[in-house]
Amino acid sequence: MPSQIAIGAAVPGCAKVDPILIADNVRRQFGGNVAVDVEHVEIPRGLITALIGPNGAGKTTFFNLLTGFDQPNSGDWTFDGVKLAGVPAFKVARMGMVRTFQLTKSLNMITVMENMRLGAQRQPGESLLRALIKPLWKRNEEEITARAAELLTRFKLDTKSDDFAASLSGGQRKLLEMARALMTQPRLVMLDEPMAGVNPALTQSLLEHIRGLKNEGMTVLFVEHDMHMVRNISDWVIVMAEGKIVAEGPPNEVMKNPAVIDAYLGAHHDTDLGTDKQAKGN
């Protein structure tokens, strides 16, 4: 881990020593409601960055914008120096920026192994005409299958590989989605609430997997609600509230930031609203 992540003080929108993703003036409005209005943000390369914030802060919308699943009203962003504004989602994924979804999207009526193979890139058999001639894609298929089997073993899904994805538990589907995303051989992995709805035992193994991604040289950006989880694994934390970046910094410092406490608990969280007194009175 580099000793220094940010250039200068950790203020919202601060520059990073080695950013992989840089976004400028990204704005998305739904009618009169400004869901995302990010002036400037940089995601440090090779580290785990957590994007936190209360419900409705615009985290998922920001994810959708960055990955091409939604179009902003204005704004620019670059991934590894390549401009991504207006690039369709499938091309973003091909460039090495892959995402998962808050509501897990396992492909239920195909097998776990087929789910995995679908993540592979540059399989010539995915073209309509070449699909008809098996020798053209058989070798790629074997290589893909071997890589998929290896990942499934790592994610402890190898015994399930011939089952329909529909037969997996919610937590296993999260694992499958993450493993499938890795099949694309990404440089930046964006996880939208990877821990939501997962039991505590599986949470630990998910955390290990996320750390594993970093050890393999990938950059991770993830959305999460649970502060303890964030403190546990992230190197850097970005806080969003009402569509804006309100704070940034290393996890332990960010948690003490009054702007963050405000965003999560409201500015008047410590003033007595009188409900307790009334309750005692009765």
């Binding site: 990955t67 699943f69 499938f90 009526m109 087929e114 679908l118 699909a131």
Partner: protein, 324 residues
């Protein structure tokens, strides 16, 4: 009784049955594997029928060039329907296809189009080029209660060769990585998009290939008969859907067997009822009502099927698409 049974059995291999089976294979690709709601397979069949017959009758083309024209027209139709709708939710394709089929039928049956399309009378006498290729010696071929001439046999043989060819083609496609992407799109297109696949392009390819199957079905359908605009209404599309669901939407063989069962049952119930009416065993029906009653029976059978065996005859219950 032999005649009734013979009639019903002959529907197992009639060219019409083959045409319906092929059209159903097309929507098996659209709906069963890609999740596209094509409620206008009739338009692809009509494009085949009219594209082929107009090329022969009006432009004087030979058999193969006429087939080529139908293929090009079919691809153009798929793009016309797909470009505005495939980026939207699947319901939009359903609306557009069902409307396009009706629009097409009304255009070809207008009297002002009569010199080209034959208007309400339709077209006939365009199959000479096809039958000229018949290698079967002239004569009558009798089996059991059936009596075919050389042209009947040729039409039957060619129809089923074409059906088997497309069935094998589809079976190869859906087992390939291409088929994997297609099935992924059926399950969740955003997930497939997030894995770097151009979903829009795949949906378009599926629409074109399935539409081509409908077009070839349309040609098979009219080769031994004539082109009648009235045949290309919504009922045609819904019979094909019935056949598809009967056999199982996510299967290839299901469409073929579904078409056989559908037509045999129609023939059997129709013949049995009308014989019953003729010899006085059925007194509560008239001969005119028999035609309608048999479709009611088929409708009831389909309802029972969807309730008790929603995956179709050959479908895998695990791969059930109804409740997805």
């Amino acid at each position: 009784m032999d005649l009734i049974l013979g009639n019903a059995i002959s529907w197992l291999f009639q060219p019409i049955t083959a045409a319906y089976a092929l059209a159903a294979i097309g929507i098996a690709l659209h709906f069963g594997f890609t999740g596209l709601l094509n409620f206008g397979q009739a338009v692809f069949m009509a494009v085949g029928a009219y594209g082929f017959s107009i090329s022969v009758k009006f432009f004087g083309l030979g058999f193969w060039p006429a087939v080529g024209v139908a293929v090009i027209a079919s691809i153009a139709m798929a793009f016309l329907l797909g470009i505005p709708t495939l980026r939207l939710r699947s319901d939009y394709l359903a609306i557009v296809t069902i409307a396009a089929a009706e629009v097409f039928r009304f255009i070809v049956s207008t009297t002002s189009a009569q010199p080209v399309t034959g208007g309400p009378q339709g077209l006939n006498q365009y199959s000479d080029g096809f039958y000229a290729m018949n290698p079967i010696p002239v004569g009558h071929y009798k089996f059991w209660v059936w009596d075919f001439n050389q042209d009947d046999l040729f039409a039957i043989a060619v129809s089923w060769v074409v059906v088997v060819f497309f069935a094998i083609l589809l079976a190869i496609l859906i087992r390939s990585p291409w088929g994997r992407v297609i099935k992924g799109i059926r399950e969740d297109e955003d997930a497939v998009r997030s894995l770097g696949k151009n979903v829009y392009s795949y949906k378009m390819q599926s629409l074109v290939v399935g539409g081509l199957m409908g077009t070839f079905a349309g040609i098979l359908f009219v080769l031994p008969t004539s082109v009648q605009p009235g045949n290309y209404g919504t009922t045609l599309t819904f019979y094909i859907w019935t056949i598809l669901l009967l056999g199982g939407a996510s299967t290839v063989i299901g469409s073929i067997v579904g078409a056989m069962i559908f037509w045999s049952l129609l023939s059997l119930t129709g013949d049995l009822l009308s014989t019953g009416v003729d010899n006085g065993t059925i007194t509560f029906l008239t001969q005119n009502q028999v035609g309608a009653i048999r479709f009611i029976l088929v409708g009831v059978a389909l309802m029972l099927l969807v309730i008790f065996r929603p995956q179709g005859i050959f479908g895998n219950k695990k791969e059930l698409y109804f409740n997805a």
